[in-house]
């Protein structure tokens, strides 16, 4: 069953290759994309079951024994993230059937999406720090091209900012990895964990930790490195932003949690005030930025930043409850946020604009669409029966247990701000009267509308169900956080020995 671990890499890669070979067959590319993401989700479910039954899995690429070869590892956390990747990929691919225009498809939209998924799956599975860098670059190259695809003027501006900032992050990451190898002589994450436990944590090791923290923070859009995200995420088509906001920044957070619980637990504890400060300020500045935006996509981009703060909060607190809360919140935010993005994409398609001022009155004609926007919006804000509430509750509880009252106050305050700006946006889109000089609404054909609405509906339902029945998912998150905080099982799975 160990070969199961390779499937999340093989499936998207093979699909991308097939897509490249059949460059002009768009229909084939579309079907292949849907099959691939569906298969990916199934594989992730199998992996999750396998990990629950047999504990953490590992496999050695090329049969080179760890720590010399490249190890792939799946624990509960990575299996959950893989499942989310598969489902998000599926939703976005279906949505793209209606949203991607023929020009984008002709330039290889579907194969690129698969390459992006390949990079994401690789980052979730790898147990080797340098391999992680390679997957990051795979992901970045695919995302650069997806951002610039279409070649509109404003898109170019966003792409340049994205390229520059992410390449700086890559350079920092590379320097950090090089220094870490110089100090420890290994790059296998489990091996690194053992080696670093034996060393005094003075001199270069905290510096390396800070370098890596900065590199991953840029990727995850954490304060003070978040500014590139709203500057570039508002330009490309909605389907592309959805997958970026759902997966790319979450990969940054995933890696932060993985590296700082496994390799640098000491630095996480000594650096707690810094991490918590960054978390609180990320929430606050994201929310304040969102309030000031007159445009829907920019508003949602700032909202993405704001939610990243909550995810980082769990890492800073470093208790089982906090990490479980973070993981739950991460899954919740992927579903709810993407439902918001996709619904606003439908709105933008129909009204031809995303300026809040020029929109309005949609409730009268499309009441269902209004509900589809409102439910995930309330979920993101953390209103009780929905999934966001439980994630925030766990984080707040963990914060109170660790006596971080200021941070808890910030988290709660930002929730109120989130509720304010999302409801304002909802009113602007659906409730207020349509401005007199607004353009007429484009009516979408039923099939296209279905292709756009069904994914959004599915994601909103996930958020609703996870909110009504949080118990099973939360238990999984708890297992994941226990595995993160007890390194022994991970190290044993990779190296075959206990420390």
């Amino acid at each position: 069953m160990k070969n199961l671990l390779f499937l999340p890499l093989i499936i998207p890669l093979a699909t991308a290759v097939l897509g490249l070979l059949a460059w002009n067959q768009r229909k084939f590319q579309r079907i292949a994309g849907i099959c691939s993401t569906a298969l990916l989700s199934v594989t992730a479910v199998l992996l999750l079951l396998e990990v629950q039954q047999h504990g953490i899995l590992s496999a050695q690429a090329g049969n080179w024994p760890a720590p010399f070869g490249i190890t792939l590892v799946a624990d509960t956390f990575s299996a959950l993230m893989l499942l989310a990747t598969g489902l998000m990929g599926l939703c976005v691919t279906v949505y793209s059937l209606a949203d991607a225009d023929s020009d984008q498809e002709a330039r290889g939209y579907h194969p690129l999406l698969q390459v992006l998924l390949l990079g994401i799956c690789g980052s979730f599975l790898t147990g080797d720090l340098f391999n992680l860098y390679v997957w990051f670059e795979v992901m970045l190259i695919a995302s650069f091209v997806l951002l610039a695809l279409g070649g509109k003027r404003e898109q170019m501006e966003g792409a340049i900012k994205y390229v520059a900032l992410n390449l700086i992050a890559s350079a920092l990451l590379l320097a950090g990895i090089g220094l870490l190898y110089g100090v420890t002589g290994t790059l296998n994450m489990a091996h690194l964990a053992i080696r670093l436990q034996e060393m005094p944590h003075t001199g270069t090791i905290p510096v390396i930790a800070v370098l890596l923290f900065c590199a991953f923070s840029i990727k995850a859009a954490v304060f003070p490195f978040y500014f590139w995200l709203p500057a570039s995420y508002h330009t490309p088509p909605i389907a592309v932003i959805t997958i970026f906001s759902a997966l790319l920044s979450k990969v940054g957070i995933y890696v932060l949690i993985r590296v700082f619980t496994l390799i640098f637990p000491q630095e996480t504890i000594t650096g707690q005030p810094l991490i918590l400060g960054a978390a609180g300020l990320t929430m606050l500045f994201g929310a304040l930025g969102a309030i000031a935006q007159p445009e829907l996509r920019r508003l949602l981009s700032f909202c993405v930043v704001s939610q990243i703060g909550y995810l980082l909060m769990g890492l800073g607190l470093m208790t089982p409850l906090a990490l479980a809360g973070s993981i739950f919140f991460m899954l919740h935010i992927m579903a709810a946020k993407s439902a918001l993005f996709l619904t606003s994409g439908v709105v933008a398609r129909m009204s031809g604009t995303t300026m809040l001022k020029e929109l309005g009155g949609l409730y009268k004609r499309y009441p269902l669409l209004a509900v589809l926007f409102l439910v995930p919006a309330l979920s993101v804000a953390g209103i009780p029966p929905l999934s966001g509430f439980w994630g925030k509750l766990a984080l707040v509880q963990a914060g109170l247990q660790s006596e971080q009252y200021l941070l808890v106050a910030m988290a709660l305050g930002v929730s109120v701000l989130t509720l304010y700006y999302l409801v304002t946006a909802w009113i602007a889109l659906f409730w207020k009267n349509q401005p007199a000089d607004a353009e007429k609404l484009h009516h979408l054909p039923a099939v296209r509308r279905g292709q756009m609405i069904v994914p959004a509906l599915l994601l909103a339902l996930v958020s609703l169900v996870a909110g009504l029945l949080p118990e099973p998912l939360f238990r999984l998150c708890h297992i994941a956080s226990e595995q993160l905080l007890n390194n022994d099982a991970y190290i044993k799975a990779v190296l075959g020995v206990t420390q």
């Binding site: 170019m156 390229v163 700086i168 350079a171 220094l179 190898y181 000089d437």
Partner: protein, 126 residues
């Protein structure tokens, strides 16, 4: 040798950062390339410098007693160079496209004209 390389690496980082904050996107790409090279040289230096001892077993299978070079940093640098090559090539294509659509390589021009266009568009709609 290490200290000399350290100075070179520092110089590369400084030059790269300086170029990155210039307004011209061409210079920005050069800055990115320098940053990547600085990181590669850094890996090379922290991986211990050994002179004239290639890390492979000779055909007769006899290993010399002297220390040989560590192959891992070399493999890392090679991979990083290859990846850097790909990313920089993409960035070059991107700036060519930008230059074609915007007609300038100045980032300020790009941003202000975009805002100008947005305003213009709004006024037209009014």
């Amino acid at each position: 040798m290490e200290s000399m390389l350290a100075v070179v690496i520092g110089g590369l980082y400084a030059a790269g950062m300086y170029l990155m904050v210039r307004r011209s996107i061409v210079k920005m790409i050069f800055g990115l390339a320098l940053l990547g090279n600085a990181a590669n040289l850094l890996i090379f230096t922290v991986g211990r410098l050994t002179r004239g001892r290639p890390p492979h077993v000779p055909a007769d299978g006899v290993l010399s007693a002297l220390p040989v070079a560590d192959p891992v940093p070399q493999a890392l640098i090679l991979t990083a160079i290859v990846i850097g090559f790909g990313v920089q090539a993409f960035a070059l294509v991107l700036i060519k496209r930008v230059y074609q659509t915007v007609g300038s390589d100045d980032q300020d021009v790009m941003v202000t004209e975009n805002q100008g266009q947005e305003k213009l568009g709004q006024e037209e709609e009014r």
